[in-house]
Symmetry: C2
Amino acid sequence: MPGEARAKPASIRDVARLASVSYQTVSRVLNDHPSIREDTRQRVLAAIRTLDYRPNQAARALASARPSVLGILSTTVGEYGTTSAIVAIEQVARERGFSISTLNLAAASPEAIGEAVRQFEHEQVAGIIVLAPQVRVFNVIGGLGLRVPIATLHTGAGGAAETIASDQRAGARIAVEHLVSLGHRDILHLAGPQDWIEAESRMHGYLDAMFEADLSTLPPIRGDWTADFGHFAGRELAGRRDFTAIFAANDLMAIGLMHGFRDAGVRVPDDVCVIGFDDIPVAAHVWPTLSTVRMDFADLGTRAIMHLLAAIAGEPAPQFAPVSPQLMVRQSTNPSATRR
Amino acid sequence: MPGEARAKPASIRDVARLASVSYQTVSRVLNDHPSIREDTRQRVLAAIRTLDYRPNQAARALASARPSVLGILSTTVGEYGTTSAIVAIEQVARERGFSISTLNLAAASPEAIGEAVRQFEHEQVAGIIVLAPQVRVFNVIGGLGLRVPIATLHTGAGGAAETIASDQRAGARIAVEHLVSLGHRDILHLAGPQDWIEAESRMHGYLDAMFEADLSTLPPIRGDWTADFGHFAGRELAGRRDFTAIFAANDLMAIGLMHGFRDAGVRVPDDVCVIGFDDIPVAAHVWPTLSTVRMDFADLGTRAIMHLLAAIAGEPAPQFAPVSPQLMVRQSTNPSATRR
DNA sequence: AAGTCGAATGTGTACGTTCACATTAGTGTA
DNA sequence: TACACTAATGTGAACGTACACATTCGACTT
């Protein structure tokens, strides 16, 4: 509003002039070149501060091969934890001088994914983090002969994509083991969509635990992650009596499931025990409060980005201790705890 | 893995050579210059398709004043709807040829916000969309003498920031009117944090409805949007008998509130009616199912981006019909409907 | 038929940075 | 003291595009 003529941002040459050096010297200071005398460096840094100079990323990306943008590809289909992972990723990335370009896919069709990745490629991103953990995403990406490094939060990516050892499988196992320890023998799994890596991991965890406890498994129900589906499933399953506990692949479905049971007159946890996965913020507040498994998604995000940055720098992949998922025991698996 | 030498992406000059025109002509085709013969344009477009050419955004941003990146600034403190708004914003922006750079703030301190905005400025963004609707965010931004256009989803931004007429206030009003129509006269408001624009809007809606119904208001409780706080508040409020209904500023707090009441032996909706705001996916599945108000956040996002794009292009702000919030009546405000 | 005008296209240059190479200063060695 | 060798700095290009200007071409006027 005050209409003050805004000065054009300072360029590397302005800094050089003020510091009485060549623009190249400034560039070296910016890029931590080893051969710079300390007093020169200080003079340049002072000039940078005086002029509030910030390197032009566009020019930098144009002139150098290595770009300064990281792409995050995600599907919106509600996965809890995605957000906290993104925040963690961003933070690390920005500390290392990268910007983040996000691309949220409404539908995860192979075409859309391919297009998105090519979009990133054309935007000259340094690397891509994929938070759209469908199996076919990786098939598509694998078939693209991609040049940019890719990382994901999830195991089982297969193909060329770099993967992080996440412990969804261990988490699912812990959940089921909890049910087993309560004496349940007939445990049903309400799984996620077939194509999802996380759904597969969690189902494997279920199978692991059942196998180890020497229990026979029931064919899992395939859901779509939504509470609405859980609700539907609950009403459908109310008629069956071949299970005494259910492990739902996420909390949303678990909560819908309990609603469906309630509608049908099946009591949780008295008639059927339910455990979820994620520990979404409302899990501790629904009725009955939902037992679940909590994972540190921010930590997973950090690993993914560290992994990606290492790949970009051509360094060997960093190793991390496994993330330990945490069992949250609440009312939905504890018959004696439900008081109204 | 197959180590095939990857070809360098095609440049505008490659296209020009293939189409037997000058690179400038290609540039004109790309920028929809009027004076291009139709057959020339077609020849250029064909060459573009053949080479799978995509303009280099970095070079484009460098050469032209107008950059092609839009910044999205948001705080992570859980607001439902942010995600769907972002998706909508991105879609429109990408259609118009912009990339999206996101910057999620963990803490919304004035310093962090200022730094984030300067970061965007330095990244040469064309405009910024702010999804961190705290009042002080706008104070900080207003005091920055910013040159890039800014838009937000929310009204009441004040200062220089461009605003969109959103209807949170109307939504809150509808929620309270619903309670009034059920015969409630003593209605308490569980508000959001003082600094938040949305919290203020929703409180204003509450006050509007109470005033119009000629009812006296109670001092609102200030929450922090979380279910945990709602839980705490529910236990605290259970001792009070000076209200028969509560309007919570978001669903998360409403669900926690019902949990707190349950703990304290207060029955919802029989003793106290509860209504929330947002219609988060679990609202229809908790017990009792939560009455609430649904807003089309994707639509709000679309408006915000249209607004911003108009500002960037120097066009007048587009006008939209108000978004009508939708009342979702469920069990938590319907005493006769709770069957177990 | 020469002149005028606008449409269509081409040529130089700049954007801000990095890279490859060239140069100068600085230090030790013989 | 001269020599080599490294450290420190400087110079000329190039990245891929858009902008300002110059040019060519054709059609229409007089």
